[in-house]
Subunit: 337 residues, 2 copies
DNA sequence: ACTTGGCACTCAATACTGACGAGTGCCAGA
DNA sequence: TCTGGCACTCGTCAGTATTGAGTGCCAAGT
């Protein structure tokens, strides 16, 4: 159905359109991509491509622009992997080198990603549900209020105030701390409820309800994903391509919703596999005219996702490449934090 | 120089322009603000106001718009305090009621502020330099790496990885923890260096260099203000007033720089005093066409600032009022966290 | 069967026009 | 000091003509 040359025509259209952001005509393709055929031939090919739904005409007397389906084909079959330049690699390296803690790593990488791709970059903090507890600290705020600080192996530190059902004294807090650390260290928070069940009478009866409360709170951190933090950078990049969005308003609105962002990044598959969602493939209302390039990252298995959001008219090769590179570096650095 | 009526004319111009975002003519003023004079008289007054630099004409056959100076006069002398409506008060109350921890309080209030004012809202987290240490936790990551977790009385929790000069064992970590907590609890981080000086030989000689390293790191958290976090919301509101900015690009760029934001909020004066910076009064490049309404907040003395950023053509009365209200509520809630 | 040049056609973009009207400044008179 | 009147400016808008990029189709060539 689509012979080699038609694919070349599609590639030419995508490439030119990404570069110039203007509809591409048959003449420009015939002249600029040495296909060795005349504009008329290209026109015939374009007619077929349009019939098949890979390209479209904004209006009668204009050139063609790729449709979502066209971009999809381009990404799947035509896009050449274009490795980062040496200076870029060096930039990534040196930029992430100085990072002290997790916050720093995330903050730096999200900025770097935005800069490399000239898109909006999104980096999710390591998911609590995929991290293990390294240490758990309890600080007593008052007789009935505790501050719970959970330190995860991925470097994440989360805190939460807990109102306990009955007054508690320093000794009990200490017991609680010891007990919880014994039971939870090295385990996922998701296993927290199991810990309650497992307690025969290790716990002295009086701290039992308190323990239950605390464990419940810990588990809540997972259930409502409120604690799944994300970092954002490069929103200003949305403005440069004024043609791409009718209005950047809905995009900005969508990007402010953490929940939406998380949905956008999707469930991080294994690190190494880049996920590309183009235009309408995107489930999120208001981001129907954007594409998302995302990937899971982590030391070993994925602990979270990162990616970029931009107009469907984006340099996919570059984005995919940058996203992959950043993910690898972040994954490496994560091991060291 | 400026009699009562001229001030009224200025007020009318500001109010109408804020409402309609279109230049205001003499006729509209004479008719809509029952000053009891004819358009011709208003015109004479406007001529004077223009001479004095309070208003300007975009072009010859257009009405007048306020200048920065005009807004300034309006804010200082003409703006009536317009208390929040009962539903609004209730909204604030119920919205902040459910907040669990500091992150939550900040996140909710920044969104609320953005919603109330329809501007970009900025809330600074309680400044480390103005908080006191509540508790300090040390978790050993490896023989030479410690994770320092500092819990402040304002609810802030900061962590930092510290590479210590020599290997350290669990007992030493414990000693260090006890010692640091004894010495730092209830004190400001700014006093940290003093702690070193104060140590005669309380500390066993071997942990002395480690202690110094740790203290230095603690102090660093203040010096480079990297740790001064801010939350942002409502950037989408920048798009609705397309007339106000030639391009929202520089604004978005400026808002992404934490440093800039902090500079913008300025040194929080005492809570209660709202600070208004109009247009050119703003030191930050790229935000010259915006106004900033900010205020310090805290339980008792100010621990940080919050505010809104918007076009100079903003409803100052409303913004000032909302900012003040949010600051008070946040301050109150802070005491309870 | 595929390619190509030619040609008529469509239609967005651009520029120009004139009418309109909002708004002004000025002045003479109340 | 205020007011009505008046001439003037100039941006906006609607209508119109022009331009040119790009297409689809067809007939001829390979």
């Amino acid at each position: 159905m689509l012979d080699e040359r038609k694919l070349e025509v599609l590639r030419a259209i995508v490439e030119d359109f990404v570069r110039t952001s203007e509809p591409v005509g048959s003449k420009a393709i015939a002249e600029g991509h040495n296909l060795g055929v005349s504009p008329a031939t290209v026109r015939n090919d374009m007619a077929v491509l349009e019939d098949e739904g890979y390209i479209a005409q904004p209006h009668t007397s204009a050139g063609r622009i790729p449709t979502d389906k066209g971009y999809r084909l381009f990404v799947d079959r035509l896009s050449a992997v274009k490795p980062l330049s040496a200076p870029e690699r060096r930039a990534i390296h040196s930029f992430l080198e100085g990072a002290a803690d997790l916050d720093d790593v995330v903050r730096r990488s999200v900025r770097l990603l935005a800069q490399l791709t000239r898109q909006v970059a999104v980096v999710q903090f390591p998911s609590l549900s995929r991290s293990s507890v390294l240490h758990l600290e309890i600080v007593q705020l008052s007789t009935t209020r505790l501050l719970l600080v959970v330190i995860m192996d991925t470097g994440r530190v989360e805190q939460r105030v807990v109102a306990v059902p009955s007054a508690i004294d320093a000794g009990q807090v200490s017991d609680l701390r010891t007990l919880l650390n014994e039971r939870l260290s090295g385990r996922k928070l998701a296993e927290a409820p199991g810990v309650i069940a497992e307690l025969p009478d290790v716990a002295r009866q009086e701290i039992r309800p308190i323990l239950t409360t605390v464990i419940t709170v810990l588990f809540e951190m997972l259930v409502d994903k409120r604690e799944e933090r994300v970092a954002l950078a490069g929103t200003a990049n949305l403005t440069q391509q004024s043609i791409d969005f009718p209005s950047i308003r809905p995009v900005l609105e969508a990007l402010e919703e953490n929940v939406v962002l998380l949905k956008l990044l999707g469930d991080a598959s294994d690190p190494g596999t880049v996920l590309v969602r183009i235009g309408e493939e995107n489930a999120v209302e208001g981001l129907r005219s954007t594409s998302v390039v995302s990937i899971g990252y982590g030391p070993g298995p994925a602990v979270a996702s990162l990616g970029v959001v931009g107009p469907t008219r984006m340099d996919y090769a570059n984005s995919i490449c940058a996203v992959r590179a950043i993910a690898r570096y972040v994954g490496e650095h994560l091991g060291g934090v």
